[in-house]
């Protein structure tokens, strides 16, 4: 069971997909010789050729639009968007074309297209390189939106995304790209299921991507004060595995949802709204949301203050328990 960085785990997932399905093509800006700015496609063009690992012109609408065309022709494109902030030129192709094609054609035309997006902050990047835009896509019917948080999921979820037959927005937390972890062959959890990554009985913490580790750290810290926090990695935002979440919150009666995106209208709102309804009679405190402040992502020097950290998560836990 090798130790792989999240980036390397994605690379091996792509390699597996390219080896086992001749229809799979990888495409994007600088994914060829360079191997992508995060090296996720490192070596793939060398091994599978420029016809299957395609350096594209610099045009995101073109990347997604041509991927749709390739899918119509029977291919399974995996697109890389170089940074989260650069997916917007492709927004129309994604929400009006990719997401809707199946419904528009009454189920006749499926578009198995995966769009990989390095997401979020914490790497000291310049503007437009630390965005968390999952709420836009989670609200868009016809897309699956998934988030990996570590190497094991990165490898398997990417393979599942390529195989699932639906359009998938696949988020990769930048600040975890170089974190190493085991990637093993155990039967993976289905793509659309949440995972309890740390059990506990006092408060349920819901997180995805980069904030999963933040919540695990918070749980460890809380444990020293005798508080048992349950941490759930949502993994799939759309569809959302509400059963797993509700089961937990019904037990704990308290819930804090944590993400990097600004809180206002963020994905945490959907979680809070859904749990507020589903678990109304079990809640002993309101579902609290911890996220980025409602600002455009700040300059790098301020991102530590902007991003939810251990202290802000624990503060929310305290407020929840104090209710």
């Amino acid at each position: 069971m090798p130790l792989l960085t999240l980036s390397a785990a994605l690379n091996s997932g792509l390699r597996h997909a390219l080896e086992h399905d001749p229809g799979v093509v990888v495409m994007g800006e600088d994914v060829g010789g360079l191997g992508g700015v995060f090296r996720v496609t490192d070596g793939l063009q060398k091994d599978f050729g420029a016809d299957r690992v395609i350096d594209t012109p610099l045009a995101e609408a073109g990347i997604v639009g041509t991927a749709i065309g390739l899918a119509l022709r029977g291919y399974r494109p995996v697109c890389e968007i170089q940074f989260d902030g650069f997916v917007y030129p492709a927004f129309s192709q994604i929400v009006s074309q990719l997401a809707k094609m199946r419904a528009r054609t009454a189920g006749r035309v499926a578009l198995p297209v995966v769009i990989r997006i390095p997401v979020g902050g914490g790497i000291g990047a310049v503007e437009h390189h630390s965005e968390s835009n999952e709420a836009y896509f989670a609200h868009t019917a016809g897309l699956r939106v998934v988030y990996c948080s570590g190497s094991q999921d990165a490898h398997w979820m990417l393979r599942q995304a390529v195989e699932c037959g639906d359009p998938v927005i696949f988020y990769e937390p930048k600040r975890r790209y170089w974190t190493k972890a085991e990637v093993h062959d155990d039967e993976p959890l289905p793509l659309d299921r949440a995972r309890v990554v740390r059990p506990g009985r006092d408060v349920t913490l819901l997180a995805y991507g980069g904030t999963v580790q933040t919540c695990l750290d918070a749980a460890t810290a809380a444990a020293t004060e005798g508080r048992e926090l349950e941490v759930i990695d949502l993994r799939s935002l759309a569809p959302l595995d509400l059963d797993t979440i509700a089961e937990s919150v019904a037990r704990t009666g308290r819930c804090v949802v944590v993400h990097e995106a600004p809180v206002f209208g963020g994905f945490g709102a959907e979680v809070a709204g859904a749990i507020g309804e589903r678990c109304f009679d079990r809640l002993e405190a309101p579902v609290l949301r911890v996220g980025g402040y409602d600002l455009p992502y700040p300059p790098a020097k301020f991102e530590e203050e902007f991003l939810p950290d251990l202290d802000r998560v624990l503060d929310a836990v305290d407020r929840s328990l104090a209710w």
């Binding site: 045009a59 609408a61 639009g65 749709i68 390739l70 022709r73 074309q97 189920g107 035309v109 699932c164």
Partner: protein, 355 residues
Amino acid sequence: MEKPVEPVQLLDPDGRLTPDPRWPLEITPDLCRDLYRRMVLARRFDDEALALQRQGELGLWLQSRGQEAAQVGSVTALRPDDHVFPSYREQAAALCRGITPEELLVQWRGNAHSGWDPAAYRFHVYTLVLAAQLPQATGYAMGVQRDGADEIVAVYFGDGASSQGEASEALNWAASAGVPLLFFCQNNQWAISTPTSTQMRAPLHQRAAGFGLDAHLVDGNDVLAVHAVTAGVAEQIRAGGGPALIEATTYRMGGHSTSDDPGRYRSDSELDSWRARDPIARMEILLDREGWIDEAGRAALRLESDDLAAETRRVCRAIPKGEFSALFGTVLTSEPPHLTDQRQRHTALVASYLD
């Protein structure tokens, strides 16, 4: 700036034939009769659909009147297995591919978002978001290229759509990737109320050449010229010559749609000047003069048109509404729990009214 290019024309508005050595075409009675028949049927269908909308049977209709030559001349010059990406006004082309009146009407009646199986006809569903089909056609052509197939791909779009960034991204991408793709622009002079002059300074074919495409300008109301140029260009593309663009000069003789009021922005005299260049009329003159069609032939075509019109009325009114609850299963490959839940609650709620 470059000096204006003259559009290729073989058959002038007065029905005079002038062959063009650059675009050899064997002009046989059969070819002319066939193209004429397709244009006549297309216009009749279009008129009937317009009438159905006026009667409230369709929510909206976008006429192809005036653009029959551009569509019929081009699509018949392609191979049946050449994949086509239409915009939303290509019923004349669609009929040539065998798409049925019912399949063409269902979307405008509001029963579905699209009417036919694109794979069955090698004809993609209509795209209403302007220019969105252009990068998609480019990607499809990348697939053809990778398959080493000898098919080509054709994509239709309008003068207005050409201003969209996605149109230029496709022109540039197709050129740099060298894919087997034919861009076919019906420049019908208007984008709703916006004239081509507001849309662009230089003609589109010049722009396409600037991107490195092989580009041509053709009289879009001359079905023979459109057919000859499309056939020639398609052959080049099939032979590996890379993508090309054909700009067909034509005119949208109706309003933009049945919701439009063209009187607000264009003159009758302009309309008249284009009526004089009607694509069907000039072919009629030719057929008459050459004696390539006789009274029997005309009668047969009248009969066929009447049947098509009657059939169109019949199938339109007979289109089944379908089940709302069926939509929930069309969003993803498998219906997710929350949609199942919503579907069931909706069905229960609807049932509860009936009690």
